[in-house]
C-alpha cells in the first residue's frame, strides 16, 4: 500500500470574490510527520492553499481528506483542531493585548478545562521562550518577539499539522536560527510541518518533500533530489537554483567532484570539496 497521507487536497479549485482564479484544480498530498515546503513566488496560491488545509476557506470545487477520510463541509470546518496556521504577519494574527490571554484563545476554543488550558499555555510559552513576556502587552513587543508569540498561539493547540506562512521573512539570522530550533523540536515530536517560502536556499536544506507552485497550480513536486534538478522548471516559477547545487553542478561538469549525491547543506559541500 501507499504511504500514509495525513492530509490530501483533491482537485481543489478556488476563485476569489473578484473572479480571479486562485487555485486551479490543485492536488496536494501531505505525508505524515515530514517537513513539507511549498515554494513559489508571491501570489502563486500558497496562502490560499494553507487556508484550505485549515478549513478557513471551503473549497468551491474538490475534496479534502484527513487521514484517508473524506471530509464533509461541516467536518472540514473543524480542521482547525488538527491543523494550525502561523500567519506571515504576526500583527494580523495577534488580536489580544495580553500575551497570556492571546495564547489561551486556541486551547479555550478546543473546549478544554481552564486547568488544561493553563497547562498548554505555560508549555507553549516555555517552548517559544516567551514566558518572561507574558505580562507585557503585545504592542510593546519587538517583531521577533511577536513572531514567537504567534508560534506559541499554535503550539498551545497541540495540532497534528503546523503550517507556517513565510516564517523567515523579516527575521534576522539570530531569530531565524531560534525558529529553526523550535521547528526541529516539533519535528522530533512527530508533528507534520508545512512551510511556504520563496527562499530556495533555506528550503533546499530544510525540506523532505517539495511542492513548487505557480499561478494556483502545482508545477512540480517531489523529494529534494527530484525537484531541484529540474532547473528549467524552477526558473519558470521565478525561483533560483540553491547556490549549493549550482556550485555542485558546476564542479560536477568540470569533473572536479565525484560525490554521487548532491550535497544537502554547506557542511556536506565542504566535505566533498
Amino acid at each position: 500500500m501507499e504511504q500514509q497521507w495525513i492530509l490530501h487536497l483533491k482537485n481543489i479549485s478556488y476563485n476569489y470574490p473578484d473572479g480571479t482564479l486562485a487555485l486551479d484544480n490543485l492536488h496536494v498530498k501531505i505525508p505524515k510527520g515530514q517537513r513539507i515546503v511549498f515554494l513559489g513566488p508571491n501570489g502563486s496560491g500558497k496562502s490560499t492553499t494553507f487556508l484550505h488545509m485549515n478549513g478557513v476557506l471551503k473549497p468551491q470545487k474538490g475534496e479534502v481528506y484527513y487521514e484517508g477520510q473524506k471530509l464533509s463541509h461541516k467536518e472540514s470546518k473543524d480542521l482547525w483542531r488538527k491543523v494550525g496556521i502561523i500567519f506571515q504577519d504576526a500583527d494580523t494574527q495577534l488580536f489580544s493585548t495580553s500575551v497570556y490571554q492571546e495564547i489561551s484563545f486556541g486551547p479555550k476554543n478546543l473546549g478544554l478545562s481552564n486547568e488544561e488550558v493553563k497547562k498548554k499555555v505555560v508549555e507553549a510559552m516555555e517552548a517559544t521562550d516567551v514566558s518572561k513576556l507574558q505580562h507585557k502587552p503585545v504592542h510593546f513587543l519587538s517583531g521577533g518577539e511577536k513572531k514567537r508569540v504567534s508560534i506559541a498561539d499554535i503550539l498551545a493547540m497541540d495540532t497534528e499539522i503546523i503550517l507556517l506562512d513565510e516564517p523567515t521573512i523579516s527575521l534576522d539570522p539570530k531569530h531565524a536560527t531560534e525558529l529553526m530550533e523550535i521547528l526541529e523540536e516539533l519535528h522530533k515530536k512527530g508533528k507534520t510541518l508545512i512551510i511556504s517560502t520563496h527562499d530556495v536556499n533555506f528550503a533546499y536544506s530544510w525540506g523532505d518533500y517539495f511542492y513548487i507552485m505557480k499561478e494556483g497550480k502545482v508545477l512540480l513536486e517531489g523529494s529534494y533530489q527530484e525537484v531541484f534538478k529540474q532547473q528549467t522548471l524552477l526558473k519558470e516559477a521565478n525561483l533560483e537554483v540553491p547556490w549549493i547545487l549550482e556550485i555542485y553542478y558546476d564542479l560536477l561538469e568540470k569533473g572536479k567532484i565525484k560525490a554521487p549525491y548532491p550535497p544537502r547543506n554547506k557542511q556536506e559541500l565542504l566535505k566533498y570539496l
Binding site: 494550525g84 488580536f95 495580553s98 489561551s104 486556541g106 479555550k108 476554543n109 499555555v121 504592542h139
Partner: protein, 244 residues
C-alpha cells in the same frame, strides 16, 4: 504607545487586584462629589497623589504632565462660573467674590475627582480594566467590541505613525496647507485599508476556531484583605470629614 497606558503597565501597583483599585477610586470620587467644604477634597488630593506617586511609582514629573491635561478645560470651565454677565443696558461683565469662591471650589473638587480617576488609570492597564467589565455584567457584545477595539487602536496607531513618518520624509507637514492635505491623505488611506484588515483578522481568528465569541483565560488577581481594610478605613474617615 499611549502615555497613560504605558505608565500603567510599568507601575508596581498593576499587580494589585483591579476591582479593589476601581472601588477605591470610585468611592473616593463619590465622596468628593458629595463634599460641600474644602477639607474633604483637599484630603483626597493629598492621599491619592501620595499613593499614586509612592506606591504607584509614577514620577512627579509624569504626574504633573498628566495633571496639566485638563488644565485648559478647567480654566475655560471656571471662568464663566466666576464672572457675572449682565445683559440689560448693554453687555457688562463683572467679577463677584461669591462667583470667585464658587469657581475655586469647583476647581478643587474637579481636581480631587480627576486625581481619583488618575490613580486608577495610571496603575491599571487596559487589559485589566476590560476584564472588570465582565465582573460588572457588561453585555458580551460590548465587551468583545471593546476588547477588539483596544487592540485595533494600537495597530491603527502604529500604521498612522508609519504613514506620518513616510510623509515627513517626503516633505509632508511643511506648511499649514500642506499639513491639511497630508493629513487628509493619511486618514483616508487609513480608512480604505480597514476592510482588508478586517478580513485578515477574521481569518486569523477563524483559523483558531473562532465561532463568534471570544473566550479567554481570565487574568487572576487575588484581592488582598489588607487592601479591603484600608479602603473601609479611608471611606470611614472621609465619611467623617463629610459629616463635619
Amino acid at each position: 504607545m499611549y502615555f497613560v497606558d504605558h505608565l500603567a503597565y510599568c507601575s508596581p501597583l498593576r499587580k494589585m487586584n483591579p476591582n479593589q483599585k476601581l472601588i477605591f477610586s470610585i468611592a473616593n470620587m463619590v465622596m468628593v462629589l458629595l463634599a460641600t467644604g474644602y477639607i474633604l477634597p483637599v484630603a483626597v488630593i493629598l492621599l491619592m497623589t501620595l499613593i499614586t506617586i509612592t506606591k504607584g511609582k509614577i514620577s512627579v514629573k509624569n504626574f504633573g504632565k498628566i495633571l496639566l491635561l485638563p488644565a485648559l478645560f478647567l480654566i475655560m470651565g471656571i471662568i464663566p462660573v466666576m464672572v457675572g454677565l449682565e445683559m440689560e443696558a448693554g453687555l457688562k461683565i463683572y467679577l463677584t467674590w461669591e462667583g470667585f469662591y464658587q469657581g475655586i471650589f469647583l476647581a478643587v473638587r474637579a481636581l480631587a475627582a480627576i486625581i481619583c480617576l488618575y490613580f486608577f488609570i495610571l496603575t491599571t492597564p487596559m487589559v485589566d480594566t476590560l476584564q472588570l467589565l465582565k465582573k460588572y455584567r457588561c453585555p458580551a457584545l460590548i465587551r468583545e467590541l471593546m476588547f477588539l477595539i483596544y487592540r485595533f487602536i494600537m495597530i491603527l496607531t502604529e500604521i498612522t505613525m508609519k504613514i506620518f513618518l513616510a510623509q515627513r520624509c517626503r516633505g509632508g507637514y511643511n506648511t499649514i496647507r500642506n499639513s491639511r492635505q497630508s493629513l487628509s491623505h493619511l486618514v483616508s488611506s487609513l480608512f480604505l485599508g480597514l476592510y482588508q484588515r478586517s478580513e485578515e483578522s477574521q481569518r486569523g481568528l477563524v483559523a483558531r476556531g473562532y465561532n463568534g465569541e471570544i473566550d479567554l483565560l481570565p487574568l487572576e488577581y487575588d484581592p488582598s484583605p489588607k487592601v479591603w481594610l484600608f479602603i473601609i478605613t479611608t471611606q470611614a474617615a472621609l465619611l467623617f470629614l463629610l459629616m463635619i
